[in-house]
Symmetry: C2
Subunit: 500 residues, 2 copies
């Protein structure tokens, strides 16, 4: 049996190597690749991905998993090997269920849709994107139907990003969240606007970069096992536990993107760097789900990086980098400025109070489209009506409305809600952290993060993808994903900032 | 038949994708990879290489090649398809002849030998490296014996780098070259030394980098299909015809390495960029051999970049970058300085007149070791004796003598002579160029390289690896590799510089 397990691990290691190589190709494509390389890079990525797929879905893997079933049942269910066999079987069954033609058709459709979306957004022409979006949702429905029976047709899509999570769970969470979020945003809108204009000045590239590096070094991002580069869209990419890289984007006249982007990506990267080396090259040597991943990035970006204690320590340092720009802005005003709430059109620029509203809007639309209850052609209208309802604003055009996100054009249906679930989990973890490390706030205000990172390593990171996200959150916090802590956090924070 | 050819090309394309991906992994390893990534990178590279090997040496490829044999005979032998089938069959037969255990044993032996060599060189302790070198030459002899009968046991090794070339050919070429080279070096040694001290001053990084970029841009290096980065050892890496990158190394107090290194690597890179797109992803979409590749890098580095006409145009520009350092050095003195001849210990730092002597020494030793006529333990002694004989100097220690090069520790036996063959070919091409483009020298002195690059593209680059090196040189210059043009060139150039 142990020999069979070794055999299985050998195959998974090769698949992992192919995926790691593909990740590097993709990292390079987004950072350093010259434009001429694009065509060949497409071929290389597709060859690596198809070889990885063939290897993983081979009859041999199926046979090994079958043979190992009784063995796994004798193991401690929390052991690495038991989890590895369980997660691998789950993945194997999902992947082998999909016929090669559907994979190919989907790949082709998303390639064309992505091109169409790029043009449609540039020309503010939803009609151009519409048939592609219809095609993609049609193909995703066929995909979902491969996993029938299901409670909801959206379940198999969501499950790709949040293993084990159901549409009904997410709906219930969002139903509890929505009225409170809407009420909070309305209450804030009645208060005087906060002045955040100081964030929009000339901020030299070197200073923005240098400060970000200083902060994440203190966080504990391990530079021996990572690096930071620039790219148009910030991202984290891992090529194994010991090489986890981040990118950032520096705007010359706005402080937020590089600053909070760097903390955000470092949060993702420290998760990947913290996975137990015993899981190296096993395909479970990464985060448990997108939502759990986002809980880490949001925790460092928001719970730490947008908190007053954090800036008590770091604000004098930031002022040192930018004495002209920030010398006359005091700590309280800076803190209020980086936390000002303002309903806005673009999700990726939204503040903590309004962000989830953007996600809810998308979830509602995705579910309607996949159910077939919502015709694609009505999307712009519905989008704009919901924006008015949730945030009190209406996009002046579709480019800043329904066409703003890349996800649907790439076929990533079921992805958006993970952003909000990550927000919720981050505060559930934070409440637990405050209970376990009573002087955490004090530590943060002294630029001390060792205990914080140690706790996350121990409770979350080291487990990799051994546990399903709801199970992991339950193990660590005592309850499943729950919106209450997040609302408590928002109410307290903005209650103070806006004197509600 | 055409369907079978398409099938074959499909497999070669996948092998090419795997090799391209492996090349990127290796490029990243030498430029940006954090130290922690080394272990995982080793696994990824080995997985990609072994998959590429398995795919290429599959029974399916053998069958397709057999089936295509009669078809290929009907084609124009110079056509892309005929050459592709011929070269692929040659490669296939060579690679399938080697048993997997020997490949594995060799991989393990070179890994250990490389570690031992690194330590041996650092500690100046040849004895530590000796058993590894014995092992490697033993394994290479077993490899060569797989290709028996041969004229000489060294032939199959040389053939890996110079397809079709024989040991006897190289020996004959070097036998003709050696006495003339030795005589030239002796004659120069009797003349007064040239002052080249101005090359050793503080040269700012940005200026060195900027000037190199300016020159190779004028050469015609295509930045849309390439880029330049820094690495400890300069190299060129291609991931397809449309992504060919170079690296350079900038020393703060010595002008030559970045300057001539950049021109050298650009020469390699323009070769790869110039291959006909019809050969893309075929495994013959790269240079014909190491020697032909080196002929391109040496042509741009030396025939162009160390010539007086070149500097007539570029020297005022270089002075513009470094007015303090070079403002008082006139063109003639600069030209003499960058061409000063001085027997030295280290091959990679050798000038044009002494370089080949370093190579001859290595070839003699390699042949002795593979024949078994030379015991490994005697290497330091033989090395030092030959250095005295060829160049009139003796290394003070083995680190600067027999241990200086990385090649043997990596099992690269048969590689060194390609450096000298490349030197010879570069001048054969240059003589032909001067016949075909009578005002070439004048063009160079005006910073005009379009006709030069166009000629190289047409005669050499576009063919990729379709032709064997001797065949290609014969087609372009009318004779096989010939040392006479190179000696004519050296005698004329140094005759003038040293008033011989």
């Amino acid at each position: 049996m142990e020999q069979k397990l070794t055999q299985l691990k050998g195959i998974l290691a090769e698949v992992s190597d192919l995926q790691g190589a593909a990740s590097l190709l993709s990292w390079d494509q987004q950072t350093y690749m010259p434009p001429g390389g694009a065509h060949g890079r497409g071929h290389q990525l597709s060859t690596l991905e198809s070889l990885a797929h063939l290897k993983f879905t081979s009859v041999e893997v199926g046979k090994l998993l079958d043979d190992l079933e009784p063995y796994a049942e004798q193991l401690d269910p929390d052991s690495d090997d038991a989890c590895l066999i369980k997660v691998t079987r789950r993945q194997y069954e999902k992947r082998t269920r999909v016929p090669a033609e559907l994979v190919a058709e989907f790949a082709q459709a998303t390639t064309l849709a992505h091109e169409a979306w790029t043009q449609a957004r540039a020309e503010n022409d939803f009609a151009r994107f519409q048939p592609h979006l219809e095609k993609i949702f049609g193909l995703r429905r066929r995909y979902a139907d491969l996993f029938a029976p299901y409670d909801h047709v959206y379940d198999p899509l969501l499950d790709d990003y949040e293993p084990g999570m159901k549409t009904a769970d997410v709906k219930a969470i969002f139903a509890a969240l929505r009225p409170q979020q809407v009420a909070l945003v309305k209450a804030i809108a009645d208060r005087p606007e906060i002045d955040a204009s100081f964030l929009h000045q000339d901020y030299a590239d070197a200073g923005q970069w240098g400060f970000g590096v200083e902060v994440i070094t203190r966080f504990g991002y391990d530079w021996k096992r990572g690096r930071q580069d620039k790219s148009p869209h910030p991202f984290t990419q891992h090529f194994g536990i010991d090489d986890v890289r981040i990118t950032t984007r520096v705007l010359p006249d706005f402080l937020n993107p590089a600053l909070f982007g760097t903390l955000h990506e470092a949060g993702h990267a420290m998760y990947n760097q913290g996975v137990d080396h015993a899981l190296d090259r096993t395909l479970i040597d990464h985060g448990a789900s997108l939502a759990v991943h986002e809980s880490q990035s949001r925790l460092w970006e928001n719970l730490v990086g947008r908190s007053l204690p954090f800036w008590r320590y770091f604000y004098p340092r930031l002022q040192g980098y930018f004495p002209e720009q920030l010398g006359n802005v005091d700590l309280e005003d800076f803190y209020r400025g980086i936390n000002c709430v303002k309903p806005s059109l673009i999700r990726v620029e939204a503040d903590e109070a309004t962000y989830n509203m953007h996600v809810m809007l998308r979830l509602e639309i995705e579910i309607g489209l996949i159910e077939g209850s919502l015709p694609v052609k009505d999307l712009p209208e519905i989008w704009n009506a919901r924006m008015q309802e949730f945030l009190g604003i209406t996009p002046p055009n579709d480019a800043q409305g329904v066409l703003q996100d890349i996800h649907w054009s790439m076929g990533l249906i079921g992805y958006f809600s993970t952003y909000s679930l990550g927000n919720l989990i981050s505060v559930q973890l934070w409440e637990r952290l405050l209970a376990d490390i009573p002087d955490l706030t004090d530590q943060v205000s002294h630029g001390e993060f060792t205990a914080l990172l140690g706790w996350l390593r121990e409770k979350i990171h080291r487990h990799g993808a051994k546990f399903e996200p709801q199970d992991l959150v339950q193990r660590v916090t005592g309850s499943k994903i729950d919106p209450a802590p997040y609302m408590r956090y928002l109410m307290k924070k903005y209650g103070e900032i806006y004197s509600l």
